[in-house]
Symmetry: C2
Subunit: 265 residues, 2 copies
Amino acid sequence: MQKSVGPNEDTNTTPESNAKRISPPLSKIPGVPLYVQIREAVRREITDGDLQPGERIPSEDELGTRFGVSRMTVRKAIADLIQDGLLYRSHGVGTFVTQVQIDRDHTRLTDFFESAQEQGLEATASLLSRERIRANPKVAQALALEEGEEILRIGSLRSLDGEPITLHYAHVPAKLATDLPTEEFLYHSVWLLIENRNSLKVKRAVEHLEAQLADRALARLLQIERGAPVLYKERTVFAEDGTPVEYEECYNRGDRYRCSVILHH
Amino acid sequence: MQKSVGPNEDTNTTPESNAKRISPPLSKIPGVPLYVQIREAVRREITDGDLQPGERIPSEDELGTRFGVSRMTVRKAIADLIQDGLLYRSHGVGTFVTQVQIDRDHTRLTDFFESAQEQGLEATASLLSRERIRANPKVAQALALEEGEEILRIGSLRSLDGEPITLHYAHVPAKLATDLPTEEFLYHSVWLLIENRNSLKVKRAVEHLEAQLADRALARLLQIERGAPVLYKERTVFAEDGTPVEYEECYNRGDRYRCSVILHH
DNA sequence: GAGTGGTCTAGACCACCCG
DNA sequence: GGGTGGTCTAGACCACTCG
């Protein structure tokens, strides 16, 4: 593992048996898998600061003994936390808490309205257009449709705290968009509506981002100067089975909107 | 480790429907974990088209029998492929090939020079500056340093096929940047150099993206008009243990550069 | 009810790292 | 050598889906 030069903050090296930590022998809530209970117990230890960044957590054998479960169950719990970036393992050495906990919220596929609410902002939208049209080549490609197949296209202007932020176009295969009530578009992302109505699970999305300039029409809608910077985003949302559910085109005010991403190596 | 390879394949007259698929009873390469061999065998079936999008793959029991391994081993192989987005599971139903295989290459943390090369482009860079300075608040925050700690700051202009694309500033904690030969900056990402020299593993990165306009100086460097769109990217690269390794500021030509991302729900 | 994936066990041997 | 994680087994029971 890394010898990283001169860690000037060592602190821990607690002599062994900090046995008070983590262990509450787990009252085994029925209906909740053991590995989930263990995972959340360990996660709590980390977020509460009982396990400090850089600190080694108890070994898998140790945790298995404490919680009264087999080692494979512990490993499943830990694997999830590693996936989340809270822990990392080093063969022959141990399992450790990562130094910097990355805030995942910014990189999750979230509903515009929900995530605004979580940040204490008032999200609103006004409907600009709603039309059933035939997919042009670009949209067809994105939604894995034949060119000319019918889609629903919804234009809206999204605002935060009353200030226009995004000109938004959603494209949905017509067969997924039957009976979507218009007013719902103003309170929920389209893919969320489709998920609820078609009992499919939205799983991932691919985004492409570019810097552009506002033309006259866009500038007026977003209440910015013509030629002001705009973050243009194309997004395709996929269901669990890999089927495209929605294709979006978003024109975001450059001075009010930034985008956060996590990459893996 | 070696089992002297005893998959007596006489038994394989099983009248199973698609018994031809997937199964070559696995010659169990010594030194390569079984789940890796199984995973890659299944992955090959998918990329080769032997398993079609939407198709159900054999059940876990079935695969375990065919490959001569336990079910947990099969599950580990499949879990990896699900993580990669090639498969998805449905409880009580089966495991299936996803409809659309997302190209992961665009969303991996990659070296600018390597990834350009893979796309058949000639990546070059010219060094603009190299200085040891004290971290300002923003850089210190990003690199988890105290304000005023020493860092190495490297400015360069990156080009593709001779055309300037990105004005790039890399910031590295001085303690990680000892003896980095200047000429290397022109052929490799800084975090890659650090990874090699400090025997640490780069694991993830966080990016923030904004749309901006080119000012006069930037415009001249990138050979674009003043006021042209620029995709501004801040990126922090983290080692496996969560330690920040590098903080970058990139000014990318809006008309030549786009950024791709995967989100999860 | 039959088949599938979801969880879990109680071991085992190995590879790796450290003192 | 002793402790750690990495892999693997041969079972088990459960929950879910579907015909």
